[in-house]
C-alpha cells in the first residue's frame, strides 16, 4: 500500500481494494486453520499464536473503561432537554428524541452548527494536512541528512513545547493581531501547522522505513534529492504518514484553547468552541438551556474522527502487513 495507490484511478483502486480484501480474508482463514493445526500438534507458532481467553477478558476490562463514558453519550443523545435533566443518566428518557435532536442541532441558530462543521473541516484539511506535510519533510530531513544545526533542531523543538501554551497565547495573539490575522482562519491554520510529535514520528519512521542503501543507489543514478524523496522514500513512508496524519487531525479537530483566544466571530468557530458556547448558554441570563443539543452535537463531532480513524487504520494496517517497515 502506498501513496501511488491512492493517486491511481478510481476503478483501478476499487479493484485493487477488492483484491486486497479477498487476499486478507484468505490470509486470516489460513491463519485460523494453521492455529487449529498447531494446537492439535501441541506446538505454538509465535507469529500466529492461539487466542487466549484470559488475556481477552483482561483487555475487555480496559475496553469497558474506555468505552463506558461513550455509552453514556449514546444514551443521552436520545433524550429531550426535559428528560436530560430529570431522568437517570444511564437510563433512557420517556421519549426517543434522537432524530429530533439531530435535526434541531442543524437548525438551531439558523444552522450555525453546519457552518462550524465546515470550518472545522477547513482547519483540519489545511492545518493538519499542512502539519503532516511539514512533519514528513522535516522528519525525513532530520533522519537522512547531516546538516549544520541538525542537533539544535530537536533540542529547540522540545524546549519550545515545554513553554506553557497558555502563557504563550498572549504573545502569540499579539503577534497575530499585529499581522492582522486574528479572527481569520489563518490564526487557526498557521499554529496548527506545527506538530512536534508528528515531526518526531516521521523522524523515527524515516530511520526505520527508508534504508540508506536505497537512497545511496538512487543518488548514484544521479537522481535529485527531491526526486529520490518522492519516488523512492514517500511510498515507503506511507504507514508513518497515515499515523502522523491521524494524530495531527485529532489534535486540530479537538483544539480548544487556540480558537478561544484567536477567534471572536462565531462564523469562524470550530465545533469545540461552538459547543462550549452552547453549553454555557444554560447559565446565561436570557439564554435557553440546550444541553440535549450539546450532547448530540458532541456525538456528531466525534463521529467523523472515529470514521477517519477506522478508514485510516486500514491503510495503516495494510501498510504494516505489506511489510513496508523493517522486514
Amino acid at each position: 500500500m502506498s501513496i501511488s495507490t491512492i493517486i491511481r484511478g478510481d476503478a483501478e483502486r476499487r479493484q485493487s481494494r477488492r483484491a486486497q480484501k479477498s487476499r486478507m480474508k484468505k490470509v486470516s482463514r489460513d491463519e485460523a486453520r494453521e492455529r487449529k493445526r498447531y494446537r492439535r500438534m501441541g506446538f505454538s507458532n509465535p507469529a500466529n499464536p492461539s487466542r487466549s481467553v484470559l488475556l481477552t477478558v483482561l483487555s475487555a476490562l480496559m475496553a469497558v473503561y474506555c468505552l463506558f463514558p461513550l455509552v453514556w453519550l449514546l444514551i443521552n443523545v436520545t433524550k429531550t432537554q426535559g428528560d436530560f435533566v430529570t431522568t437517570f443518566g444511564l437510563g433512557f428518557g420517556s421519549t426517543f428524541a434522537l432524530f429530533d435532536n439531530i435535526a434541531r442541532v442543524f437548525q438551531y441558530q439558523d444552522g450555525i452548527f453546519f457552518r462550524w462543521f465546515v470550518n472545522t473541516i477547513l482547519y483540519v484539511v489545511a492545518g493538519a494536512g499542512g502539519a503532516t506535510l511539514l512533519a514528513i519533510l522535516g522528519g525525513y530531513g532530520l533522519s537522512k541528512f547531516r546538516f549544520p544545526g541538525r542537533k539544535a533542531v530537536f533540542a529547540v523543538v522540545i524546549g519550545a513545547i515545554s513553554v506553557p501554551g497558555i502563557a504563550l497565547a498572549v504573545p502569540q495573539f499579539l503577534l497575530f493581531a499585529k499581522l492582522g490575522l486574528t479572527n481569520t482562519p489563518w490564526s487557526m491554520i498557521i499554529p496548527s501547522l506545527i506538530s512536534p510529535f508528528g515531526l518526531y514520528l516521521m523522524w523515527i519512521f524515516s530511520d526505520q522505513a527508508v534504508p540508506d542503501e536505497l537512497l545511496e543507489a538512487a543518488r548514484m543514478d544521479g537522481a535529485s534529492e527531491f526526486r529520490t524523496f518522492f519516488t523512492i522514500s514517500l511510498p515507503l513512508l506511507a504507514p508513518g504518514i497515515v499515523t502522523t496524519a491521524l494524530f495531527t487531525i485529532v489534535a486540530t479537530w479537538n483544539n480548544y484553547f487556540l480558537p478561544l483566544i484567536m477567534l471572536k466571530d462565531s462564523d469562524w468557530y470550530p465545533l469545540t468552541i461552538g459547543l462550549n458556547q452552547w453549553n454555557k448558554q444554560a447559565s446565561t441570563a436570557g439564554g435557553e438551556a440546550i444541553q440535549n443539543l450539546v450532547v448530540t452535537g458532541s456525538l456528531i463531532t466525534i463521529i467523523p474522527l472515529i470514521l477517519a480513524f477506522l478508514l485510516l487504520q486500514r491503510y495503516w494496517q495494510s501498510g504494516l502487513a505489506a511489510g513496508a517497515v523493517k522486514e
Partner: protein, 436 residues
C-alpha cells in the same frame, strides 16, 4: 547555523515592520450614518435578544448595519476584549459589559464617557442600582441594558412540608427556616453555596455592606470592619457551621439543576432574571415555586444586584455617533420594550411600573404576580455599593480566598481577611493608593 540566524532575524524584522504599520493608524470611517454614508457597527454581546433589537434598529436606520458578534459569555468576552485592547486593533465599537466589570474598563479609559451625548439626563430613567453602576466619578460609561436585583426564589411545596408557612423576611427567620428544611432529611437544604462570589459577595451587598470605596486613585478595601460585611459573615458562619447550607453543589452544574428540580435545594437568592430561566433548570418545579424579597439582615430593606449588563461604547471607536444611536435605541428607546416583552428583566423605571408588566403571571409561579416582588427588589438596591476597579480579577480569586470558608477549615472572618490581603496587594501593584 548562519541561515537559521538569518531566518530568525528576518522574521523578527518583518514582525517589527508589520507592528509599525499596524500602529500607523486605522482606516477612518468617521461617520454617524446620518450623512448618507453607510456605517457598519461591530457589537460584541452574548445576549440573544440583541439580534432582535438590531433588526428593528436597522429598519429605522438603513445606513447603519449592526454586526453582532458573540465573543463568548462574560469573562470569555472580557478576555477577547482585553486582548483586542492590548493589541490596539480588533476591538468592537460597542460591547456588552456587566456592571461589575464596567468600572474596570471605565477607569482604564477603554470606555467612552457618554456625557457628551447627554446621557446624564437619563438618571431618572433607570432604577438606582444599575444607574449607580454606570455612573462612575460623575461620568456615564454605559446605558443599562438589563438588571438583576436579587430576590428569593423558593419552592413553596418544600417550605410548606417543612412547616415554614411564610417566606422568611429577615435573616433570623431565614435561619429558622433553614433548620426546619434540613430537618426534612439530610439532603434537604435551604440553599446551596460552595464558596462562590455569587451569592456570597452579593449577599454582602444585600446586607448593606460597603467594603469597597473608590475615589480616583485612592481605594479603600475594608472587609474586616465593614458593618454589612460582618453581618453577612456572622449569619453565613452560623448557617455553615450548623450544616444548614449545601456547600458542595456548584451553581449551574448539572447536580445543581437536578437538586432544584427535586426540591433538595429549596430556595435561591439570585437575580430577578432567574424568573425566565427557572423552568429550564427545574422543569418539574412548575407550580411549586414562588418569589419573595431577599431576607434583610436588619429591619431596613436593602438589596443587591446579581448580574445585569450595560451597552458601552469603546473609546477606540471612530463611529461614536452611530454607536450612541444604537445603544440609545437598544437601552433607552424602542429596544427596551422588544427585550422586556421577550422576558428580559428591565433596568428602567417605566417598564418596572408598567401595569402589564406588574400584573404578569406565570403558572410556573402558581399564578403569582411575581413582577410586583421583583419590582420592589429593584427599588431596594443598596446604591452605596461600589465595585473595585479590578472587580473581574477580585471575583476570579474570590473562591481561592473568601470562598474557602464554606470548607469549614477557616472562619468567614479569616477567609474574608485573606481576600482583602490579596486585593490590597494587587491594588498596590497596580499603582493604587490603598487604605485598609
Amino acid at each position: 547555523m548562519k541561515s537559521l540566524t538569518k531566518m530568525i532575524a528576518g522574521g523578527l524584522s518583518a514582525v517589527m515592520l508589520f507592528s509599525a504599520a499596524a500602529c500607523g493608524g486605522s482606516s477612518g470611517e468617521a461617520a454617524d450614518g446620518s450623512s448618507g454614508q453607510k456605517v457598519t457597527l461591530n457589537v460584541w454581546g452574548w445576549e440573544p435578544l440583541l439580534k432582535d433589537v438590531a433588526d428593528a434598529f436597522e429598519k429605522e436606520n438603513p445606513n447603519i448595519t449592526i454586526k453582532i458578534t458573540n465573543a463568548g459569555t462574560a469573562t470569555d468576552q472580557y478576555t477577547a476584549l482585553n486582548n483586542a485592547i492590548s493589541a490596539g486593533s480588533g476591538a468592537p465599537d460597542v460591547a456588552q459589559v456587566e456592571y461589575y466589570a464596567t468600572a474596570q474598563y471605565a477607569l482604564s479609559d477603554s470606555l467612552k464617557d457618554l456625557s457628551e451625548f447627554g446621557a446624564k439626563d437619563y438618571s431618572d430613567f433607570y432604577t438606582p442600582g444599575p444607574w449607580s453602576s454606570v455612573n462612575i466619578n460623575d461620568k456615564i460609561y454605559g446605558l443599562p441594558l438589563d438588571s438583576g436585583p436579587m430576590a428569593m426564589f423558593y419552592n413553596k411545596e418544600i417550605f410548606d412540608k417543612a412547616g415554614v408557612t411564610s417566606a422568611p423576611t429577615t435573616m433570623e427567620e431565614y435561619y429558622e427556616a433553614a433548620k426546619k428544611i434540613h430537618a426534612l432529611g439530610s439532603d434537604y437544604y435551604i440553599t446551596a453555596d460552595s464558596g462562590e462570589p455569587a451569592p456570597e459577595e452579593l449577599m454582602i451587598w444585600a446586607a448593606g455592606g460597603t467594603p469597597f470605596k473608590v475615589d480616583g486613585e485612592n481605594l479603600t478595601i475594608n472587609l474586616t470592619d465593614d458593618a454589612g460585611t460582618q453581618e453577612f459573615a456572622k449569619w453565613w458562619q452560623k448557617l455553615v457551621d450548623e450544616g444548614l447550607i449545601d456547600t458542595k453543589t456548584k451553581r449551574w452544574s448539572d447536580d445543581w439543576s437536578r437538586k432544584l428540580n427535586e426540591g433538595n435545594i429549596a430556595s435561591l437568592t439570585i437575580g430577578a432574571w432567574m424568573a425566565s430561566m427557572l423552568d429550564d433548570q427545574a422543569p418539574d418545579g412548575s407550580g411549586k415555586w414562588r418569589v419573595a424579597n431577599t431576607p434583610t439582615f436588619d429591619t431596613k430593606a436593602t438589596n443587591g444586584e446579581d448580574g445585569g449588563s450595560t451597552l458601552a461604547i469603546m473609546s477606540s471607536t471612530d463611529k461614536a455617533e452611530a454607536a450612541w444611536k444604537f445603544i440609545d435605541f437598544a437601552a433607552h428607546g424602542k429596544g427596551v420594550k422588544i427585550r422586556v416583552d421577550k422576558g428580559q428583566f428591565p433596568a428602567d423605571k417605566a417598564s418596572l411600573s408598567d401595569s402589564s408588566f406588574l400584573t404578569k403571571t406565570d403558572p410556573y409561579f402558581g399564578d403569582q404576580k411575581y413582577n410586583e416582588v421583583l419590582s420592589k427588589a429593584a427599588d431596594d438596591v443598596n446604591t452605596k455599593w461600589q465595585f473595585l476597579p479590578y472587580d473581574v480579577y477580585a471575583r476570579s480569586i474570590f473562591s481561592d480566598t473568601a470562598g474557602q470558608a464554606t470548607l469549614g477549615k477557616i472562619t468567614f472572618k479569616e477567609a474574608l481577611k485573606n481576600w482583602q490581603d490579596q486585593l490590597v496587594e494587587y491594588g498596590k501593584q497596580q499603582g493604587y493608593k490603598v487604605n485598609e
